[in-house]
């Protein structure tokens, strides 16, 4: 892949505490995610999967290293710029509680656009289009507690990609779903990446990781393995694992 990566992590590390209570949540790692690519991150509990994702999305600041999203270095950007970047470039999907209960499905999708100052009407039109694309047009005016878990997660994915956002960070998006619904949600995510988005999927189920182009294995904050879905022996970014 010769295109510019949407997400570029360089020597990214995160340490909690200091001295005897020091915990290395993530040891220095490099990772690029290109447009149209879906990367799965796997590993046992406490391996640093979620830390990787929160750092990539600018929800947490690294101890060292850089995070570059669409050419902007999050580690040097102001808090406000990082928030703006989340509105315009990064989309999050969590395991549950993804949607704001006080807003309808359409309003949830329109939220980042509205926060960004887009007129409510235009934001809603975009949201409806996104829902339609997901085959969810009929739930537009329902509240999160009135729709199923699968519909909620698909709405969350739609929200994560509304506007010009090209980076989806999904943290166990299928964790609270049955396997069939989980597969359908993953299908949607895969389709969005095929359409040009870049995605990171944190999961501990190999079944779901199979939807990714690449799988990164973490243990104790370190990348222990990276495999192509098609060719497990090839490492895309040499030097990252060791």
């Amino acid at each position: 892949m010769t295109a510019t990566p949407v997400l570029q992590l360089r020597q990214l590390a995160r340490t909690h505490g200091s001295g005897p209570t020091e915990v290395h949540a993530l040891r220095p790692l490099d990772l690029d995610v290109f447009p149209g690519e879906l990367v799965a991150v796997m590993g046992p509990s406490g391996s640093g999967k979620s830390t990787l994702l929160t750092l990539a999305g600018g929800l947490d600041a690294p101890t060292s290293g850089t995070v570059t999203v669409e050419g902007t270095d999050l580690t040097t950007a102001s808090r406000r710029d990082v928030a703006a970047l989340r509105r315009r470039a990064i989309g999050y999907v969590f395991q549950d509680y993804n949607l704001i209960p006080a807003l309808t499905a359409a309003e949830n999708i329109a939220l980042p656009r509205e926060l960004d100052g887009i007129r409510a009407k235009k934001a809603r039109t975009e949201a409806l289009a996104a829902l339609d694309e997901m085959g969810l047009a009929d739930i537009a005016d329902r509240f999160p507690d009135e729709i199923s878990g699968g519909q909620q997660q698909r709405t969350a994915i739609a929200r994560a990609l509304v506007g010009d956002r090209r980076l989806v960070l999904a943290d166990e998006p299928t964790g609270a779903l049955d396997s069939e619904t989980g597969e359908s949600v993953l299908a949607v995510l895969r389709a969005r990446c095929d359409a040009g988005a870049a995605g990171i999927l944190v999961t501990h189920e190999p079944r779901f990781a199979a939807w990714a182009d690449r799988v990164v294995f973490l243990r104790d904050g370190e990348v222990v393995d990276q495999t192509l879905r098609s060719d497990a022996s090839a490492l895309l970014t040499p030097g990252a694992a060791q």
Partner: protein, 956 residues
């Protein structure tokens, strides 16, 4: 729209939408905060509407006063007809143009005839006779004094003065109409016959009406000449006020008024009242410059009222913010995940703040709408009740738009202010910790305690300076206020101090305390809210209780508790025995002690005059050395120290005179041992002395060497000129009589009695005596019905004696203290309850952990009960301390002022040493310190669900 502004607005729109829906989703919490803000708004708005509606405009007031007439003519009596006057533009005062030579007293009662008026009135004028007086009429219950207005109310010129309710206005001189207030009070009805006490005529009541501006006015209306006599026989009491309503073509201008003044007639003109002439055109002001408008403007009072109002409103907003703030903090805490999601979607701090602030805005607006709607609705519904209570009809249902908008704005402001700190706190949380539900313990501000300490220091210094260096009560008030705000700022720090108690407590209270201390952010506002409310209540309660104690100490009873005393008015003493009988017949008495006075010049001579000029009088002389040397200028030889010492001596500290003493001004009462018994005298020697024919002196003032001296005057004038303390009294007297006497000791109260003489001693001294009253002992206080029956018995005897039932000191502050305790208790419960709700929202993970390690379900109840009780306890302890200090400071400042006055008057030889006690309202304090925290704890424990909700995975 585009650009940063439109972006901001769009962001706010989304925030408002979330807040609105959240408010609807959490109905309980929203309703609580809504009620907290809407209730005061309701009260203020209702008061505003009531005041504005009941306060008539100037035109409306003039219509109520003068109907459709253009004005009213009156005759000031300073110069009528021939003698011109200058009048005040309002018509309430006038002076003669030339100096009055007197002799016009007779003219006051003269009433100008319409034919006289014709010559002096402007052409085309009409007038309507309008005369007012007071008279007494018989009612179903007795006799009532009423106002009479002789005005043809049915005339178009009088329209607007009264409203006819039933029947019709009188058409003949044998008819009257009556106000509803009169009918209600008298028991008479439309159609009844009305009989004045004097005059012998009877009238039929043909109608009921009301005066819109004074619904409680007991008034009768009759045709001119029907009731008020002006022929000099005057069956009406009160001063008659003659006048005419007058109507002219156009308006009664100031020039016309001045023209009318030249005939000695004063005009109150509507046109002039509405548009007063310039000062230069009012000759009256030249004669009475003090009456100029603006000569006296009580602006300082207005400023004071404004200051108090602003302070009260400010404190109320602070209190509501402190109470509602934690509720918003609960909201923000419960929506933490939601706010985290908002952050994850790109919401920055501004967006998070605006979501929480929008909550305040939504509730504030809802409270404004609800409060105003309730106020308008309730005022409209309760209008008849309010009108009856205020004794005035609403002139209109007035909804002042600016004021109501201001009140609504206050509600919105309160909502926003209450949400401000939770909003800032929520925005400070990192998105990650919001999302993962990690509970970081927020360190409380380091600046706040310093500010608090400084404010307390400065406030206390000002208060102490106010109490010790000056006597200015307001300085103490300001100082206390600053110190109290400082204490509020210091609350987080103080809450931290409480945490040290944790080590010695068992598990549940330890957990509750630690939790409260670790989460000062939510504990402190609740404790501060309790503190502020309790401090205010305790301060007022302590001050009230102290003033009450002072009044109790200063109260001088007229007789022991339950004793009824009756005494005749001047010169009517001869019926005293029959009056006494009437008391015994109508009240349940257990003993009677007749009391008499000395008569000099024959039995018919009354002690307080009434016998005529041949009567004299007798007084007890104060022996030398018994009088206060500071009186009569005898203190000039004394140094200040001696004077001060003397001030404290018994000579200069006479016992308090009760409000209604037996025969005020009389030194000597004549009576037997039954009087001693009625007055509860225990001294057996006093009984023996009286039986031996000796006098009993209740005070040391009159007795010396076991003797008292009576000075007898044959002439009434000499008697009146005599002064018991004057050393020359014995020389001026026609005769002096020394009598053996016993000094009554061991008596706390002497009930205003100075010397009691047995009848035998009076006779032996060659004097007469006559009963004028009596004391009656009772087992219980007379009922209202018994007292009314006695009044009617007195009526039948045609006497009007002074009846007094000694009920002891009646405190009127009990209700105040109770109301304050309840207010503080309510605020405490509210604040503690809200903070407990907040604590519970936070404590879920702890409770799950507790359950996991085997704690029973009761732990949850116990914990929330203790959390609630703890907050209440911390608040009331700090609040009580904070409240006692300013109250004591205020009393000390008062004492200082009184002492300064005392020092100043010391040289004058009068004025007692000030007594400014400080009473601690123990009942109020006990209620607040013990009952309220316990109640709060129990209530919280009772309403808490003991089931622990299922665990949901919150971390990614």
């Amino acid at each position: 729209m585009s650009g940063p502004l439109s972006g901001r607005l769009t962001g706010w729109r989304a925030a408002l939408r979330i807040a609105r829906r959240d408010a609807r989703r959490h109905k309980g919490r929203s309703a609580l905060v809504l009620a907290m803000i809407a209730l005061p708004i309701f009260g203020v708005a209702a008061a505003d509407i009531t005041i504005r509606s009941s306060d008539p405009s100037e035109e409306q007031q003039l219509q109520r006063d003068y109907g459709a007439a253009d004005g009213r003519l009156s005759f000031p009596g300073v110069g009528r007809g021939e003698r011109p006057v200058y009048q005040h533009p309002d018509g309430w005062d006038a002076v003669p143009v030339k100096k009055d030579r007197g002799g016009d007293a007779k003219q006051r009662d003269e009433r100008p005839e319409p034919s006289d008026l014709k010559a002096v009135m402007p052409p085309g004028a009409h007038w309507l006779s309008d005369q007012r007086a007071a008279t007494r009429v018989r009612t179903e219950h007795g006799v009532l004094r009423v106002h009479v207005r002789e005005l043809k109310l049915a005339d178009p010129m009088a329209r607007g003065i009264a409203t006819l309710l039933r029947g019709r206005y009188p058409k003949t001189t044998g008819e009257v109409a009556a106000t509803q207030a009169f009918l209600d009070s008298s028991g008479l009805r439309v159609g009844s016959t009305l009989r004045p006490v004097e005059g012998g005529r009877a009238y039929r009541i043909t109608g009921a009406y009301e005066l819109p501006g004074s619904l409680n006015n007991k008034q009768l209306s009759a045709l001119p000449g029907a009731m008020i006599r002006t022929d000099g026989s005057k069956p009406n009491d009160g001063v008659d006020r003659l006048g005419y309503l007058v109507s002219v073509p156009g308006a009664y201008t100031w020039d016309m008024v001045k023209e009318t003044n030249t005939h000695g007639i004063v005009v109150t003109s509507k046109a002039v009242l509405l548009d007063p002439p310039p000062e230069s055109e009012v000759p009256f002001y030249r004669k009475s410059p003090g009456m100029r408008p603006g000569a006296y403007e009580p602006t300082s009072d207005q400023a004071l009222v404004l200051t108090i109002a602003v302070t009260v409103v400010g404190l109320a907003i602070l209190e509501i913010c402190l109470l509602a703030g934690p509720a918003f903090a609960v909201g923000a805490r419960r929506q933490r995940r939601q706010l985290g999601l908002l952050g994850a979607q790109g919401g920055d701090r501004r967006h998070i703040r605006s979501v929480v602030l929008s909550g305040g805005l939504v509730i504030g607006v809802a409270a404004a709408v609800l409060g105003l709607a309730l106020a308008i609705g309730a005022t409209a519904l309760a209008r008849p009740l309010i009108e009856e209570r205020l004794h005035t009809r609403f002139s209109s249902f007035d909804l002042p738009p600016l004021e109501l908008a201001g009140i609504a704005g206050l509600a919105v402001l309160t909502g926003l202010l209450a949400a401000l700190f939770p909003a800032i706190a929520a925005a400070r949380q990192s998105v990650l910790s919001s999302l993962t539900g990690r509970r970081g313990v927020r360190r409380s501000s380091r600046v706040l305690p310093i500010v608090g300490f400084i404010a307390i220091g400065v406030g206390v210094a000002i208060a102490i300076a106010g109490a010790t260096l000056t006597d200015r009560v307001e300085v103490v008030g300001i100082g206390s206020g600053i110190a109290e705000l400082g204490l509020v700022a210091l609350t987080p720090f103080l809450v931290g101090l409480f945490g040290r108690l944790g080590r010695i407590l068992p598990l549940s209270p330890r957990l509750a305390l630690r939790d409260a201390v670790r989460n000062r952010g939510r504990t402190a506002p609740a404790v501060a809210a309790v503190l502020a409310a309790v401090a205010g209540s305790v301060a007022v309660a302590t001050y009230t209780a102290s003033v009450d104690q002072q009044r109790r100490d200063e109260y001088a009873p007229s007789a022991p508790h339950g004793v009824v005393s009756v005494q005749m008015e001047r010169g009517t003493g001869r019926t005293a025995d029959r009056v006494g009988d009437a008391v015994e017949q109508n009240l349940k008495t257990t003993g009677r002690a007749d009391v008499g006075h000395l008569s000099v010049g024959g039995v018919t001579c009354g002690g307080l005059s009434g016998g005529g000029s041949k009567c004299g009088g007798a007084t007890v002389v104060v022996p030398e050395g018994n009088d206060c040397p500071l009186h009569y200028g005898g203190d000039e030889k004394l140094s200040a120290a001696e004077r001060q010492k003397m001030m404290k001596s018994w000579q200069c500290n006479p016992p308090q005179t009760p409000h209604i003493p037996m025969m005020a001004g009389m030194d000597v009462l004549v009576g037997g041992t039954d009087v001693l018994k009625a007055l509860g005298v225990q001294d057996r020697q006093a009984y023996a002395a009286l039986e031996r024919g000796h006098a009993v002196s209740f005070t040391q003032r009159y007795i010396k060497d076991d003797r008292i001296t009576l000075a007898v005057f044959k002439k009434e004038q000499d008697y009146y000129n005599a002064d018991d303390g004057d050393p020359d009294t014995t020389k001026k007297a026609d005769r002096t009589i020394p009598l053996p006497a016993h000094h009554l000791r061991g008596q706390d109260e002497i009930y205003g009695v100075n010397v009691l003489l047995p009848p035998a001693a009076v006779t032996k001294a060659g004097l007469d005596h006559q009963n004028f009253g009596a004391y009656f002992r009772t087992d219980r206080l007379p009922t209202d019905a018994e007292t009314q029956a006695l009044s009617s018995a007195f009526n039948e005897l045609n006497v009007n004696p002074i009846l007094h039932v000694e009920k002891g000191y009646k405190s009127d502050s009990n209700n105040v203290l109770l109301a304050l305790t309840l207010f503080a208790a309510l605020v405490t419960l509210g604040a503690a309850g809200i903070a407990t709700g907040l604590a519970q929202a936070d404590a879920e993970p702890d409770l799950r952990t507790l359950a996991a390690v085997g704690a029973g379900t009761r732990v949850r109840r116990t914990l929330s009960g203790l959390q609630c009780g703890l907050i209440a306890a911390m608040g009331v302890v700090l609040g009580s301390i904070a409240g006692l200090i300013p109250a004591i400071g205020l009393r000390k400042a008062e004492e200082r002022r009184k002492l300064a006055d005392y020092a100043e008057t010391l040289g004058n030889g009068w004025g007692g040493e000030p007594h400014i006690p400080i009473a601690i309202p123990w009942e109020t304090l006990a209620g607040l310190l013990l009952v309220v925290p316990l109640g709060a704890a129990l209530l919280a424990a009772l309403v808490t669900r003991s089931r622990i909700p299922l665990l949901r995975r919150g971390e990614g």
